[in-house]
Assembly symmetry: D3
Homo-oligomer: 250 residues x 6
């Protein structure tokens, strides 16, 4: 049984090979790039915004909650030109909002905290083009090795069923339709959360469904009245996903 | 039973009051601010980086996975001066990484996807100063109205127990110690994920534990060798949280 | 340790006291009443409907799915004057429809079966006056001894929050408002089920939200357009809870 | 991406086509039939039983809890000739009673409520002939599209295993045996509920296992003493499923 | 923030204090005692039983499955004078057998493995006197700091309810009655497991419920016929907990 | 439907065939062997250790917690030559320690109880040679009929992934490597439990990872410093799996 262990690294040797463990150049470079970025932030960016950071040191009052995909190509603060303190952000594979149930996790906690503790007045659910999660929903074969992702994407099953049964679109079009329907479905899930439903009913909270296109920088926003997505920066009135409030506030 | 409904908004009236539902100025201003930011992004920022966005349109190859708090004051791309495409980001209340179990959710899915589908070589768990989640762990009375958050923060119970039983620090110091120990605990949780453990053993993945100070812009990084946090941009060698790989790769 | 067992029944003695175990008269009478009813059904009712039962022996094609409370005062077939074969019925405490999640139970299974296997075209969620579950939601003190019911009623938390935060009604009115809002909330939950959402989008399924008044026999039905409940048998058009279908069927 | 949306309904057009959305005649007829039934109930049935409904307006005291399948062909009040107020009813696919565990749902809540809040003295678990759920247990291939139903029917796995390993019956006979064994298994599950076990031990509660035959109107009842089912309306003593009480009540 | 870290051990110093970390004598002695015991086993016991161990090296065929408490005072092999290879053992706080459900864990897995893979023909559930778990069920105040244990002991809730509602015994007697009723309840849970139920029905498996008294070495065994516990080594026939098999094997 | 019941045993006949149900000789012999062993224990062993048992009657103070496989060939007290009262033992298929999460079961409860209520100072996780669970992890085809075991062994997935991706060993060697890595993984899981982490940090608890060889009686123990297993009874210092404590106790 002994000899198979020769495959294992002697920790001391590993150290000798450069740092705690030998890595190919690119991995080390990736991390060095981040650390260099941080040094640049401290030296160049932070001093200019020191007043902002001092003000933020003890409290946050975000303008909105932003729920989007973990995808590296989406930078919420960049595409809304927001500053630190503006967006309360939760991100996961597929910009999923599980419905409120008996087992609640990270997204549900973030929603409850945003509404109850921070009093956010807007929640944006933002999908995006070329989304790996949406591709996996359409073609789940690749999820064989990823059982956790597969289970998670059951929260997109509602959108998948809807598209499969209703959309006569081509394979090429399906990804776009699914991405939109997934945003609509997650907005529906959002409304099952007590904190959200209570404030929607009283008109103290707005919800928004966006799809961001990486290549063109376009954002399409869901309009519940027409049941369609329209450009966020179009000429007409803003698309509105928020249901009409059913109670008047004094 | 009828008359109580007079408290409800007539949807038609609400529309009259301006848009779909009447809101006080500040809520509308908050959202207008975001839309204006988006217009600015499209008009001014996007054109300059069009080549980058075109290249990113069909694929992502992030340098690292970044797990941090949903807090609006943390902007991962800002503090690492990263570009779109650099950081695969998942965020939740308390920068929690639930251990791999029989019920896995959003964070676990993001980890599996980052490692298995995107081959990230670095995972950073980043806590921060003045964290509302850490304050709630220390003083859970305020969580009475937030049962979902309370349940979620059981994943920080390991850090809370550790601090309570071992730290003779003052109340003022406890928040800082807990914030650090929470990062250490979430790194331990991270190692229970099969995809992570397998690549750590082979030296193909590094993990990092950071605490970012909003006020001073300092980042402290965990060093497993000394069991302490040290400045990420200090003079000595980089703090290393990654355990020694136990298998040599051919 | 021995002597405490004297409190236990000698099974043989119990038998002697009349049947398998001695019961006070009323319990035995209750059951005898049911068995007598069954004998009457066989002798008098069944022979008249034998053709119907013969036709139903091998298949069902219900007109609608009926989701209502387990309350003994609600008899769905009575209040809709339906025959065997007409209504696919699921009943539980509080006419709850849990949202579709990762842990699905009896109600979710019944919905999936009704839509996918039986192709029902209508789903009715029916609450009622004087509902013990709704009273318990308003005054949970009585649930101390009933932890299972308490956990189940978390699915009504969304309605409770909504009423608590928005309704300026008196204690007496609150029960009625909550009962209605609970029906609305369960309709929202219903829409998170993939089978339901897909057919709603294509206009192949309608959903209905009713509140039945035991004392007056009135049924109020939810109208999504006005956000209000109106008499099911009123003079105007039928109240419609079904969202507009977003896809045209060829 | 735009043109694929042409497949979607213009809500305004849909309205024009008759009501909120155009449906083929039969779906509308189904619903009209229910509404007509309700009008008939109000006009003809309710007035005759107004005294009963007035008495029931503020309380229920059901004679028994009735747990049966959601199947439209089973009408508990019809086959026992019961009135409103007599039967506390919970129904689901396969007349399942999940055992009491750490995750409890609708059936468990209904049981706890019936016993603790309503003091029911009888619980009947009633299966039936030609049961779709039992057929699916025997031939699960059809459940491929119904993952929720499939998961739910794991609660019938105990009966399936038992029949598979012990019954040398033909395929034709298997459905009947499984239907009976499923009732026996659900009775065993029922006994794991604390409220049930406590009252069974003291002789304050009786449990009954029935199988109703749609075609012949026969009910077979389980007798624990012989381990067999016998006609509920036979000449001999009533079949008894209730275990002997192990404690004497003072 | 820095100075609070002075409370932490310098790992290098800790090493100096003797081994990897300084411990008081008794902890080190406890472990040395185990290692010494192991040396004695290798030197003295193993050589005498080498033939047995050689035979066991490649397979096990246990005579029974033994489910008992984790309590250190219970040594199943000692009290049954069994050899290695005789007893397949699973142990937990309170000798609990969770019912078979949708979430199954370690005990359920062990049962399935014992019956399906090892074909055990007997399963013994063994409680014991002075059981800390049973004391905690009677007086849960001490569980405040142990939320996991508290949740686990919900599987004993059925026994607790039964005793509370039926037993007029003194506080001193309650522990003994509860310990017995808990064994009965776990036997009922055992029967909900498909593998167990199937073999019980066919008479291929027997189940046994024991309570072992640490002080007197007595074992009381449950007899389902009388509903009582009787000495395992008494003069009469063996107490039998196994239900009568309902199917004959060819 | 009637005649199929002829396959069932008449309980009265079964009794006649010898005891409550007819079994082949070997099953009865197996049980008689256990009862005979118990008689021998009472007659011969207990009298000699009566003082010990009297002392243990009212309390336990175990030297260590022992977590091992349910395998019948492992007798913890035998291989450590321990007495009743020495080892707090929990056993399951594969000596699994699920990580601390939101759903905790038997193993987690036993750990919490051992640390919080009994103040154990050592926890040993002990795997073994020829482990059926480890074989099933390597070759899961055999688990088809055992869905519960299959789900449980997901807690070993982390070890399986690690071995699969890193070990270039032969099929013959894989079982040994997996057995060791599984112990390492379960030690990592152990550290996610709050009670364990808190005491490890303060140096009040030690953890140990062993692999016991049935055939040779050898125990290999994990040493975290070298990342390897070494003989527990070797000449050098004891292998140490406990991480360095990070807090000094006053």
């Amino acid at each position: 049984m002994r000899e198979i262990f020769t495959a294992r690294v002697e920790p001391s040797k590993a150290s000798v090979q450069g740092g705690r463990h030998a890595r190919d150049g690119s991995a080390d470079e990736s991390f060095a790039h981040l650390v260099d970025g941080f040094r640049r932030f401290r030296a160049e960016v932070y001093p200019e915004q020191q007043a902002l950071f001092a003000r933020l040191a003890k409290a946050q009052q975000p303008r909105a909650m932003f729920i989007t995909c973990a995808d590296s190509r989406i930078v919420p603060e960049l595409i809304t030109q927001s500053s630190p303190g503006d967006l309360f952000v939760t991100r996961n594979v597929g910009n999923v909002v599980p419905p409120y149930g008996q087992m609640n996790g990270g997204v549900s906690s973030a929603i409850e905290y945003a509404v109850m503790a921070l009093d956010v007045q807007h929640i944006i659910v933002c999908g995006h083009s070329d989304c790996g999660a949406m591709k996996a929903v359409l073609d789940p074969a690749g999820l064989q090795r990823m059982p956790t992702v597969k289970a998670w994407l059951r929260h997109c099953e509602v959108a998948r069923s809807l598209v499969e049964q209703n959309c006569s679109c081509t394979a090429g079009e399906a990804l776009g339709v699914l991405t939109e329907e997934n945003v609509v479905a997650q907005l529906d899930h959002l409304r099952t959360h007590p904190s959200v439903a209570a404030r929607l009913a009283g008109g103290q909270l707005s919800i928004h469904g966006w799809v961001y296109c990486i290549e063109t920088s376009e954002i399409l926003a869901y309009d519940a009245g027409t049941g369609r997505f329209a450009p966020l920066d179009g000429d007409g009135p803003l698309p509105v996903a928020t249901p009409a409030p059913r109670y008047l506030q004094a």
